[in-house]
């Protein structure tokens, strides 16, 4: 084993991680500006030109804020919560191809890896909520665990039908299979796309499913007691998880890094593929933000009804239909 491949891996990992981390502050800024425009406001425009340095100011504020640990809180778990929430989301990005052949690890079980990693993020929220020794935090943590479990099922079932059409669980192979425009999975699996996207909102605790932190009922939900950089970590985790989920949506349904036609060989093609992937990623992220400032929050029982009684049966029916179609297609071929 020589050192150069390991070094290359490390460089790739650091590059992609750094790219995601720099994306987060600008995503926060985009969220604030877009929300302002939707609500006929202006949004942060004071720090730097057009408010572009606002994220920096926010980070400085968070770093220098006092960190408060509530009395009788479980100190270890309280500090561990934000980390446990952030780490899985960051790890998940390792398996996602951000361009042609640009991937930290090409895992044979890439889809499952990302889903697993994002599902582990629930521990950070639950533990943080429990450790805070606060009713609202505990309720937020509880809601989060129940919600993520419920929507994970719908998400997994939607994924199965995608895997059935592509015939692979490797993310690189799934993206290779969507090179031509009509092969994009959104056209082959529209129902799975809708289910997956809806479940992705729930997995990320984003509106309309942000019940774990629902301000009007639970103060701040699971992070009620958090302040300073620990809160910042939760904040970061939420946005990293959002980026990961958007990247998954792009990779699985929107043709990954493919612009819809064959790319030129060599470096040029790779660069273009990264550009196309980023463009699609930003489009999905914009949609996330757009939805957040459009839809009201679901009530908890509505959330459960939607998950268990609409999405899960729909996803199952989709699997059956996909199975029949795939079998007939194989027989015809």
């Amino acid at each position: 084993m020589t050192w150069s491949p390991i070094l290359l891996d490390v460089i790739r990992a650091v590059l992609i991680f750094a790219a995601v981390m720099t994306l987060v502050p600008f995503l926060v800024l985009a969220e604030r500006r877009i929300s302002a425009w939707i609500q006929n406001r202006v949004g942060p425009n004071r720090v730097g030109p057009m408010g572009t340095l606002q994220p920096l100011a926010d980070v400085i504020k968070l770093v220098f804020k006092e960190e408060i640990v509530p009395a009788r809180a479980d100190r270890v778990l309280y500090s561990l919560g934000p980390l446990l929430s952030f780490a899985p989301a960051a790890i998940a990005f390792a398996a996602i191809p951000v361009g042609r052949g640009l991937q930290v690890v090409d895992m044979s079980v890439g889809v499952l890896f990302v889903i697993t990693a994002t599902s582990l993020a629930v521990y950070g929220i639950s533990f943080g909520g429990w450790a805070s020794n606060n009713k609202f935090s505990l309720l937020g943590g509880l809601r989060s665990s129940a919600q993520i479990i419920s929507y994970e099922i719908a998400m997994g079932l939607a994924l199965i039908s995608v895997i059935m059409t592509t015939g692979s669980v490797s993310l690189s192979q799934i993206s290779e299979g969507q090179t031509s425009f009509l092969c994009w999975n959104i056209f082959r699996q529209p129902i799975a796309f809708v289910i997956f996207f809806t479940a992705a909102f729930a997995e990320n605790n984003r509106l309309p499913f942000d019940l774990p932190e629902c301000e009007s009922e639970l103060v701040g939900g699971y992070h009620t007691e958090y302040s300073g950089m620990k809160f910042g970590m939760y904040f970061l985790a939420e946005y990293v998880a959002m980026i990961v989920m958007s990247a998954m949506v792009v990779t699985l349904f929107l043709g990954a890094w493919s612009p819809g036609f064959a790319l030129p060989e060599g470096l040029l093609g790779t660069v273009i593929s990264v550009g196309v992937f980023s463009f699609k990623l930003f489009a999905v992220l914009f949609f996330y933000i757009w939805v957040r400032w459009t839809l009201p929050r679901f009530r908890y029982d509505q959330l459960m009804h939607l998950g268990w009684k609409s999405l899960v049966p729909l996803a199952m029916a989709n699997i059956v239909v996909t199975g029949i179609v795939v079998t007939i297609w194989d027989a015809v071929q």
């Binding site: 877009i34 425009w37 939707i38 006929n40 406001r41 757009w290 459009t294 839809l295 939607l306 009684k309």
Partner: protein, 167 residues
Amino acid sequence: MSQATEESTPAMNTQASARIGKSKWLFRLYLPAVFKGLFNTFLHLVKAKGHKTFTIQYPEVARPVRKGYRGEHRLKKDALGREKCVACFMCQTVCPSNCIRIVAEEAPWPDRDKRPKIFEIDMLRCIYCGMCEEACPCDAIELTEKFNVVSTTRTEKIYNKEKLLSN
């Protein structure tokens, strides 16, 4: 999702079902309403339908003060540059929050007996009701349109006669 229709009152229920009509499943699919909402917010986002931003960029653009706005107090002067106040204590008496303090002294001028030696208003207690202005027989005190006032200590907020005269 069916819970929503079930829990509404009977009247609302019939109304809703009448509006939804036959396409109940379409309503329960949520998606049409979601896309309608998304379209609406997008119009706001790009300001397509004559939407305008309501934000006033405050320090650069001042908000227009309405007529009759009650801001900080001012003591008026007459044509000779003397304060109009004759220290009659009317404003101090009428003030509901008891924030005016007057100490009178003999006036050096022939047209009045007294003038205020000390005239203090505690702006932290003042409720800006304008009763002093109404009570004043000499039209000596009035409320200006100044509202953007800052101070870093509490003592600074107790305005003395000089401050009020120059206001």
